[in-house]
């Protein structure tokens, strides 16, 4: 791949910004999927052999853990995107 030109055009910057955004989305939504559909549903049975406090782990992910992770995911996304906006000068 050729190295990026010293003064990338505005279209290149937009494309690069969008790519990085999509990469964040894929990573964050994978975590979203794994904690709810993975730990809370598909893997709930095997995870129930482990415990967090007095709760079975799969059950806990379905009724507590996944929700905590959802909240954290949005705040991480906000932080990543604010940083990305700054990097490309697209902030407001």
């Amino acid at each position: 791949m050729p190295s990026p030109p010293p003064h990338p055009t505005s279209q290149d910057r937009r494309t690069a910004y969008w790519r990085e955004n999509l990469r964040y989305l894929v990573i964050l939504l994978s975590i979203w999927f794994v904690v709810s559909y993975g730990f809370g549903i598909l893997l709930a049975e095997p995870l129930n052999h482990y415990r967090i406090g007095g709760a079975r782990l799969g059950f806990w992910f379905a009724q507590q853990g996944s929700i905590y992770v959802f909240v954290v995911l949005i705040f991480v996304y906000v932080w990543l995107m604010n940083r990305l906006d700054g990097k490309y000068g697209f902030g407001e």
Binding site: W18, L29, G53, G54, A55, F59, L73, I74
Partner: protein, 571 residues
């Protein structure tokens, strides 16, 4: 003071507060009426979104439903929170950058088509009406249970209050009353929960009590005790599921995607000043929602354990006072089948002579009777009434605004009479809100028999129509009018047809059994299938037809970059 006096006092005070806010936050323009002038602070918007989202069902019924469903109740917990991740990452920032007032606005402009706009208007109205009928009914129920008035009278009082602040203040009035309503409802939900958690487990936080040990010195974990009680009584274990994995998966997914596609939730993100604010306010909203949604399963487990402990195998003569009180409302009922004077609880319907169970318990009692079961003071009981009303009113107002906006803007201004002035449009908006309140009140008094089915339908429709159309409109620049309209129409018809046959039993002799469900997926989860079909149809049709015009492709480029949202909304 008696419960009755306390209830009048607290409910009266909160209503006065809502009306005061409505007078203070009058809307002077359509910009203020539709999106509160676009100047709402992100934290305030988070609070308002949380109140908007959490309905009478979240407040009153959800803990009870989970209490009876155990693990299977998780679909609501994950489904009604996980959608906010989709909303924050895939929709809110881009729709805010787009900078108009409604979801049909986006669909109509992005797909350069008034057909698409009209399909979106119909969906928005159907979804909102099915939802709002339940809220008005909820208001009536809370009134009738706590103030001992007729349900209909309760609906009238609730209608009058919503009428006043939704019509005067529009989105501006609704936003700030919702902030107040969130505070009332979360306080009312948490106080009894904390008391009960302390009582049963010694933990202050219900979330910790949930995974803690019962405080009778036995060292047994609460959930283990509950599983044990369930086994003893012949129920399936509380922490294991009964539904098939694929159905749990599909229902959770349909609820998440439906949440992200509900117009009254989406529109809240048009009210903040910047794209950045739309992102963070989704985070605040979910945080405020999560406080209730992580407490509800704890209440469910506490209440279930408590109920079995205090009632099963007890002589009726020695039953606590709250039991007889709630018996009179019909929310709990006991028939002494074996005539031994002792209450026997177990699986199965008590009305069925073949089962030993003698008890009927309504879902709602878990939250309503909790303060009494835990022996809390009268003012806490009154607080629960005020909280239930706050939850129902805030959601009703948000939905009514969507309906009024769909009529005044998406239909009148954008299609029938584009030349009308802002002032005239504002009168249409107020008139639309007034008409919608009256229709909602009618549904509240004469609830359609299929209310339970229609709530699932609202989520299914949102999942099958709006979600794919909006996501593709942002992430697929090649998506065109033909693709989006075809996808929405096929998605809605499929969802509606499946619901009609498999839930309501239309067109067939009787409602088909679960064994005949497609892929083993219930009507509640079918939104997932309809959504996938919508995506597939949209993608195929769009690739076979002409690409969208350059101007539309430029819109897509533009909404992907945050800069410049401030100017956009003044268009």
């Amino acid at each position: 003071m008696t419960v009755q006096t306390w209830t009048f006092l607290i409910v009266g005070l909160t209503f006065a507060l809502y009306i005061g806010i409505a007078i203070w936050a009058r809307a002077g323009s359509t910009h203020e009426f539709y999106v509160a002038g676009g100047g709402v602070h992100p934290v305030a918007n988070g609070l308002a979104t949380a109140a908007d989202w959490m309905s009478a069902a979240s407040f009153l019924s959800m803990a009870g439903i989970i209490s009876f469903a155990g693990y299977d109740g998780s679909v609501y917990l994950m489904g009604w929170t996980g959608g906010y991740v989709l909303l924050a990452l895939l929709l809110a920032p881009y729709l805010r950058k787009f900078g108009k007032f409604t979801v049909p606005d986006f669909i109509g402009d992005r797909y350069y088509s008034n057909t698409a706009r009209s399909v979106a208007v119909v969906c928005a109205i159907v979804i909102s009406f099915t939802y709002v009928a339940g809220q008005m009914r909820g208001v009536g129920l809370v009134f009738s249970r706590f103030l001992e008035v007729e349900i209909d009278t309760g609906v009238y009082i609730g209608t009058a209050i919503v009428f006043f602040y939704a019509i005067m203040g529009g989105m501006k009035g609704i936003t700030y009353t919702q902030v107040a309503q969130y505070c009332v409802l979360i306080f009312a939900f948490m106080v009894p929960a904390i008391f009960i958690s302390l009582n049963m487990t010694g933990h202050f936080l219900p979330q910790l009590g949930f995974i803690g040990e019962v405080s009778d010195g036995s060292g047994v974990a609460l959930l283990d005790k509950l599983d044990g009680l369930h086994r003893d009584l012949g129920f399936a274990e509380y922490t294991s599921g009964q539904k098939s994995t694929i159905d749990v998966f599909a229902i959770t997914f349909a609820l998440m995607v439906g949440t992200a596609g509900l117009p009254h939730v989406i529109v809240r993100f048009f009210t903040v000043p910047k794209v950045k604010d739309a992102r963070i306010s989704a985070g605040w909203a979910l945080l405020f929602i999560a406080i209730l949604y992580t407490t509800a399963p704890a209440i469910a487990a506490f209440a279930r354990t408590n109920l079995i402990d205090t009632i099963h195998n007890q002589p009726y003569a020695e039953i606590p006072e709250w039991f007889t009180k709630w018996e009179t409302t019909g929310l709990i009922a006991w028939t002494d089948k074996n005539a031994d004077g002792i209450i026997t609880y177990g699986p199965g319907l008590a009305s069925n002579p073949g089962v030993t169970n003698e008890l009927y318990i309504d879902n709602d009692i878990m939250v309503l009777a909790n303060p009494e079961i835990a022996g809390l003071p009268n003012w806490v009981i009154a607080l629960v009434a005020a909280g239930g009303l706050a939850a129902a009113l805030s959601t009703a107002a948000g939905l009514l605004l969507v309906i009024s906006t769909a009529l005044s803007r998406d239909l009148m201004k954008m299609q029938i009479k584009p030349s009308m002035s802002d002032r005239e449009e504002l009168w249409w908006a107020r008139g639309g809100a007034a008409g919608a309140v009256v229709v909602a009140a009618y549904f509240g008094i004469h609830p359609p028999g299929f209310v339970a089915a229609t709530v699932a339908l609202a989520f299914g429709l949102a999942a099958a129509s709006f979600f794919p159309a909006i996501v593709l409109g942002i992430f697929d620049k090649r998506m065109n009018r033909e693709g989006a309209v075809a996808g929405m129409v096929v998605g809605i018809l499929l969802m509606f047809g499946y619901m009609a046959v498999y839930k309501l039993g239309w067109f067939v002799a009787e409602v088909p059994p679960a064994s005949s469900w497609w892929f083993g997926i219930s009507p509640e989860g079918f939104g997932t299938v309809a959504m996938l079909v919508n995506f597939a149809v949209s993608l195929v049709v769009s690739r076979l037809t002409t690409p969208p015009p350059q101007a539309v492709q430029d819109i897509v480029e533009d909404i992907r970059i945050p800069r410049g949202a401030g100017e956009a909304h003044l268009h």
